[in-house]
């Protein structure tokens, strides 16, 4: 997202309807001539934070004993790391809280740092204040279980195993894994995609997308420089593999005697029908993962900007339902791209082409040579087959329960 164009230093009181990501930018303006604007934006963020908490009745803070810092400024991290000591009991012994210096345990340091990186990415790029957008504390437990080969979000906290040392290293080693897990929390508080079949694969893919963005944002990597790997470094040296998944080339992350070959499909032609893994949620997520990569590749630059914004606004908007499938998600992202960047814009075109490439929607006509690799100029006409949003913007979404704290708010 580009820096918003400030037309006037006078910001009226209607800034409560300004998307949080813009308020965030405004609140950070240091130029004295925008002092009033920055102050108004900060006030609005504080007020919105309280409103969001009230609006979140359907998603109360997950822990009954959840704390919130009385003087906490929106966007600030509030992290607590606990140590399960090899047991499978949560939360474990508290070992580091917000602001305390790093100790000698790498799992504690890595989890603390990556929780912070995740909070920073969501706040700075999307104006989202923690998992629930209401400043929910970020809690994690490390050293869960014995040789435990997993990391998961349990609805309240992130939990990390140490790995078995043969196949897996400790699960805190990868920022993309930590971003992935926290994003399950974000999905829980927003679209709440059902963890089964295609909606479950979307749930997984969204976690991979924002997990990758957390890592890229942390490292300042562009789309072309990034690895697009999820869980890089997680395998020990004994494994023939570079990561758990590749968003750029699903199905190529590993090929090992013990683990077999990475089974992720990269298009609907390879869609896996299975009863295992809740209907293959970790397998078929390769399809929307690649769609996101293709959008990022087409647009270029930093993927957390335009591509990330399209996905974030879709996740937190009103178009998705808990059982949305790939086609519904494709339509929703195309609609979001058209709404944010214009019908027929480069972003809109990239989204349509990506979903067509992975076989979720019908193929779109090839662009004329003059439009390849060039930004779409305002008013440019695309062929009818892909110049119309897949979702009619005049058709209201089906009625349903209030889902997320920012449903319907662009930029929230």
């Amino acid at each position: 997202m580009d820096t918003p164009q400030i037309q006037s230093p006078l910001i009226p009181r209607y800034c409560t309807i300004v998307p949080p990501y813009l308020l965030t930018r405004l609140a950070q303006l240091a130029d004295p001539k925008f002092a009033r604007a920055a102050a108004a934006a900060r006030d609005s963020l504080l007020r919105d934070s309280r409103i969001r908490r009230l609006r979140d009745g359907a998603h109360p803070l997950a822990h009954p004993g959840a704390r919130s810092l009385p003087t906490r400024t929106p966007g600030e991290s509030d992290r607590t790391i606990s140590d399960a000591g090899g047991l499978e009991r949560l939360p474990g012994r508290q070992v580091r809280t917000e602001g305390q210096p790093a100790g000698t345990d790498p799992a504690v340091t890595e989890s603390y740092d990556s929780l912070g990186a995740t909070q920073a990415m969501y706040w700075n790029q999307f104006g989202r204040d923690s998992i629930d957008n209401g400043g929910m504390p970020m809690d994690a437990t490390v050293h869960y279980g014995q040789k435990y080969d997993n990391a998961f979000w349990d609805g309240e906290r992130m939990v990390f195993g140490d790995g078995d040392g043969q196949v897996f290293n400790r699960f805190t080693i990868s920022p993309s894994v930590i971003g992935h897990e926290l994003t399950h929390g974000v999905t829980q508080f927003t679209a709440n995609l059902k963890y089964q079949g295609q909606s479950g694969a979307l749930n997984e893919s969204i976690s991979d997308v924002f997990g990758a963005l957390v890592e890229q944002n942390l490292r300042g990597q562009s789309t072309s420089a990034a690895s697009w790997l999820i869980g890089e470094g997680l395998f020990t040296e004994q494994v023939e593999g570079i990561a758990l998944r590749s968003m750029k080339a699903p199905g190529t992350a590993y090929n090992d005697d013990v683990l077999g070959k990475d089974p992720q499909p990269d298009s609907m032609a390879g869609y896996v029908e299975t009863d295992d893994d809740n209907g293959g949620v970790h397998l078929n997520s390769g399809i929307p993962n690649r769609a996101f990569y293709l959008v990022a590749e087409a647009i270029g630059g930093n993927a957390w900007k335009t591509p990330g914004r399209i996905w974030y606004e879709t996740l937190t908007g009103t178009a998705l339902r808990p059982q949305s499938d790939f086609a519904a998600f494709a339509a929703a992202t195309a609609d979001t791209a058209a709404r944010l960047y214009g019908n027929g814009s480069t972003a809109h075109d990239a989204v349509l082409r990506a979903w067509a490439t992975v076989g979720v929607v019908a193929a779109v006509p090839s662009p004329s040579p003059s439009t390849i690799g060039t930004p779409s100029a305002p008013g440019i006409s695309l062929p009818p087959a892909y110049s119309t949003p897949l979702v009619d913007p005049l058709t209201p979404p089906p009625s349903g329960p209030q889902r997320g704290p920012i449903a319907g708010q662009p930029g929230g």
């Binding site: 897990e181 683990l259 893994d277 949620v281 997520s285």
Partner: protein, 88 residues
């Protein structure tokens, strides 16, 4: 008699399978008694949990699918025994 434990899901989404032929174990009678004692018919549908493992356990004519939080007591014992028999 064969016991197959297949673990799928987890954050990694990698499926691993461990298998035991009871008659090839040093204590087949104990294995058989243990397998008979398992509450095969008491298993209800599992609730999907984000990034947790799911275990499919087969021992003809039985087959159950357990979410990770449900792998407790005798089921935990079975999974550990089968993995141990496979050197895990």
């Amino acid at each position: 008699m064969k016991v197959i434990v297949s673990r799928s899901g987890g954050m990694a989404g990698i499926r691993l399978t461990w298998e035991v032929r009871v008659e090839e174990q040093p204590d087949p009678a104990i294995w058989a008694d243990f397998l008979d004692s398992l509450p095969w018919d008491d298993v209800t549908d599992s609730v999907a949990t984000v990034d947790r493992f799911a275990y499919r356990i087969r021992c003809a004519p039985h087959e159950v699918v357990l979410a990770e939080p449900e792998v407790n007591g005798p089921w935990r014992d079975l999974v550990n025994r089968v993995k141990a028999a496979n050197g895990m």
